[in-house]
């Protein structure tokens, strides 16, 4: 037998012995419990005990095919079967006994590097595990905070790009201030050989990963994981806390909730608190804790404000707030006026501003609609109404549009979200309500109906007004 093998075996034995003999916190630790692990967006229950304990965490690595977007599959490498991995919650001072299990059907070895661990490789050196095996190591949760964990097996980038990350929260002894709702949101970027929207089973592209050219940027592992029926929920008056992580592997997130201001942000999930924040940076391999009170009902959109990622690559989620409107906080649209800049100084005019010109006939309506379409719709549905595959449905020759004009009016009046099928292609995205007048909506839709092979017809302001009152 080769000497090197003997050395290796001895070395491995030593390595596995070390954690057990170096535990210095054992004295204060009372009892033992199994950690409750949750899949996003759920967060394990608050820890109410006032003492340190031994917490046993059992996490199983599964390599499995899942859906990354409608019709698009991907082989995710997961901590606990989901992306992001299971949320782990312990308390400052706890002694954590970690069991990492690598399922026998898996192809490759894995390990775990928890940023909450003080020790070599954050646990990675002690948890390197081939398929069909289990590694056990222990660590003391010394520093409170919200930490990313991830696989650190070579090639690290590929393991992370396949979804191997999650969050571990070490509650401080004092605990964070109480809130009404806690949610787990984690961003990640994905690199598929096929382009965004190409259906079927997609494989990892190392070329794109090296170029940092992501096809998908998503919250909680897939496009739509937090929209429609999967939206986060809250009620007016409640305080919501988001544990926001970013697995990367490459991109930094400009995390923002459209229509909300974060009352408090624990910057980078550390001790520093920043107040009244619009957008907070979440680094790859980092996290932030954001708290905000929801004052009015409605749908609030979670985005990476690097905005093409949100509207084109999937980094978009929803928080649905139900309850009574509060017009003192938010009025809804009260009036829409023409804004005509008159040079630098503020001017007052004795006469009322001239009324906008109204369309006198169908031809004028189409003409005025063309202009309004350019300012209000073209960003998403494109100049020729062709839309963008996978993100924005076409208005050109759209079966969805032509089938029901009232439904189209409603769409422009109130926005649209959830799954629809247009010309055989599924869309599950959000169209915001644009706050347009009846006249404008009538003009735009008449223009659209009479362009790009659509069925024609005319929408009148009266018809829009009727739908608005419904």
């Amino acid at each position: 037998m080769r000497v090197s093998i003997l050395i290796t075996i001895a070395w491995l034995f030593l390595a596995t012995m070390l954690p057990a003999t170096h535990v210095s916190h054992a004295a204060e630790v009372k009892g033992e419990e199994h950690a409750v692990l949750t899949a996003a967006p759920s967060v394990p229950p608050l820890i109410t005990r006032k003492h340190s304990t031994k917490v046993i965490v059992e996490l199983e690595v599964r390599e499995r095919v899942g859906t990354i977007a409608e019709g698009v599959e991907y082989t995710f490498w997961t901590f606990g079967g989901t992306v992001p991995g299971r949320f782990i919650r312990v308390r400052e001072g706890d002694q954590v006994e970690f069991h990492l299990k690598n399922h026998p059907d898996n192809k490759v070895p894995h390990n775990i590097d928890l940023h909450a661990v003080t020790g070599p490789g954050g646990g990675a050196t002690s948890s390197f595990t081939p398929p069909g095996h289990e590694s056990i190591f222990s660590f003391a949760a010394l520093n409170p905070g919200l930490y990313v964990y991830h696989c650190a097996t070579a090639p690290v980038g590929m393991h992370i790009a396949n979804g191997m990350y999650g969050l571990i929260l070490v509650d401080s002894k004092k605990g964070l201030p109480k809130v009404d709702r806690e949610y787990y949101v984690m961003q990640g970027d994905f690199y598929t050989v096929g382009s965004n929207g190409d259906t079927g089973l997609q494989t990892f592209s190392m070329e794109k990963a090296l170029r940092e050219d992501a096809e998908y940027v998503v919250f909680n592992g897939s496009v739509g994981a937090l929209t429609g029926d999967h939206a986060l929920q809250a009620e007016v008056g409640e305080t919501v806390r988001l544990y926001v992580g970013n697995g990367g592997p490459n991109l930094v997130s400009s995390f923002h909730v459209i229509g909300e201001i974060f009352d408090e942000v624990r910057i980078e999930a550390g001790d520093a608190i920043n107040r009244n924040v619009q957008t907070t940076l979440v680094p790859a391999g980092g996290a932030a804790i954001v708290d905000f009170k929801v004052d009015v009902p409605g749908t609030f959109i979670l985005v990476d404000h690097s905005i093409f990622r949100a509207f084109n690559k999937g980094a978009l989620g929803m928080l649905k707030v139900t309850g009574k409107p509060n017009t003192a906080v938010y009025s809804g649209q009260q009036d829409q006026r023409i804004y005509l800049p008159e040079g630098g100084a503020v001017q007052t005019t004795p006469e009322p501003a001239p009324k906008p010109k109204l369309a006198a006939n169908k031809a004028e309506r189409i003409e005025m609609g063309r202009g309004a379409y350019q300012t209000n719709c073209v960003a998403c549905h494109q100049a020729d109404g062709q839309g963008i595959a996978g993100a924005f449905p076409p208005l050109a020759k759209s079966d969805y549009l032509n089938a029901d004009v009232n439904r189209a009016i409603d769409t422009v009046l109130s926005g649209l979200q959830g799954e629809i099928t247009v010309n055989g292609e599924p869309y599950n995205n959000v169209m915001p309500s644009l706050g347009l007048s009846d006249e404008k909506i009538a003009n735009i839709l008449t223009y659209v109906l009479n362009s790009w092979d659509n069925d024609g017809g005319e929408v009148s302001p009266a018809q829009v007004s009727k739908r608005r009152k419904k």
Binding site: T75, N106, P109, F128, T153, L210
Partner: protein, 261 residues
């Protein structure tokens, strides 16, 4: 305890007859040099000409081996030579069962390094060295060294990226490389004789560098070809193993020195 095992193995091989799998086909791999993934950019590894099995050892082949060598049957083999997962997909000592593929033609997996080594000795050969295996695995259908081809690399990666459930494909499935060898990629991982030599060489400066590559930097700038992710996956897999481990996607094939003539 591990020292004892060496003696046991020698005994084991002395009692073998050097029989060997009946329908064995091997190909000659002409020697050459290549730059390994781990090491400095100008480090070269020289490989002498050798002979390699065209196919991974099948469950049927392995059945022959355990039939002749009762001490390697799953109920007989001590755990220090093969952990509890040894031949776990077999139904019984001499029954490979449905997970061994049609006519047992899937590659045998769930075998420890000790077991693989004993098999090769019994069949009058040996495990290939890491350098030999890596050298032969650089070949595509048409080229001895296709590692620089993006398509070739992507094909390898695609296999690594998909979980595999038993039964595994037949050993004859897959592409035949330019030497005549099938299934080095796209079938199973394979044991080599010195799989762990990269993990620990005894030279601490090198070890520190290796650990950095394995756990942190991944494809770090200093390595021979930072974009050869497939090689990193193989090295990571090998580094995670111990000699008694039996793993569901890990099999082997045997090699020989080229006969001196």
């Amino acid at each position: 305890m591990k020292l004892l095992s060496a003696g046991w193995l020698i005994l084991g091989t002395l009692s073998a007859f050097g029989a060997g799998a009946a329908s064995r086909e091997m190909s000659e791999i002409p020697g050459g040099v290549y730059r390994p993934q781990y090491g400095t950019k100008d480090e070269q590894v020289e490989v002498e000409s050798f002979v390699l099995d065209n196919y991974a050892v099948t469950n049927a082949d392995y059945l022959e081996f355990v039939t002749e060598n009762p001490r390697w049957r799953k109920s007989q083999t001590p755990q220090i030579f093969a952990d509890a997962a040894y031949l776990k997909h077999w139904i019984a000592d001499l029954d490979p069962g449905p997970d061994s593929g049609p006519e047992g033609m899937s590659p045998v997996t769930n075998v420890s390094w000790f077991a693989a080594r004993a098999y090769c000795r019994w069949s009058g050969s040996r495990l290939p060295t890491l350098a030999e295996w890596e050298f032969a695995a650089r070949a595509s259908e048409s080229k001895p060294d296709a590692i620089g081809d993006v398509d070739f690399r992507q094909r390898i990666l695609d296999w690594y990226a998909k979980p595999a459930k038993p039964p595994l494909p037949k050993v004859t499935d897959g592409f035949i490389n330019v030497y005549g060898v099938t299934g080095l990629h796209g079938l199973v991982w394979e044991w080599v004789s010195d799989w762990n030599s990269v993990l620990l060489t005894g030279e601490s400066r090198v070890d520190a560098g290796l650990e950095r590559q394995l756990f942190c930097a991944g494809a770090s700038a200093g390595s021979a070809d930072p974009s050869d992710y497939a090689a990193f996956l193989r090295f990571a897999m090998r580094a995670s193993l111990q000699a008694d481990y039996a793993v569901g996607n890990l099999g082997f094939r045997c090699a020989k020195d080229r006969s001196p003539n």
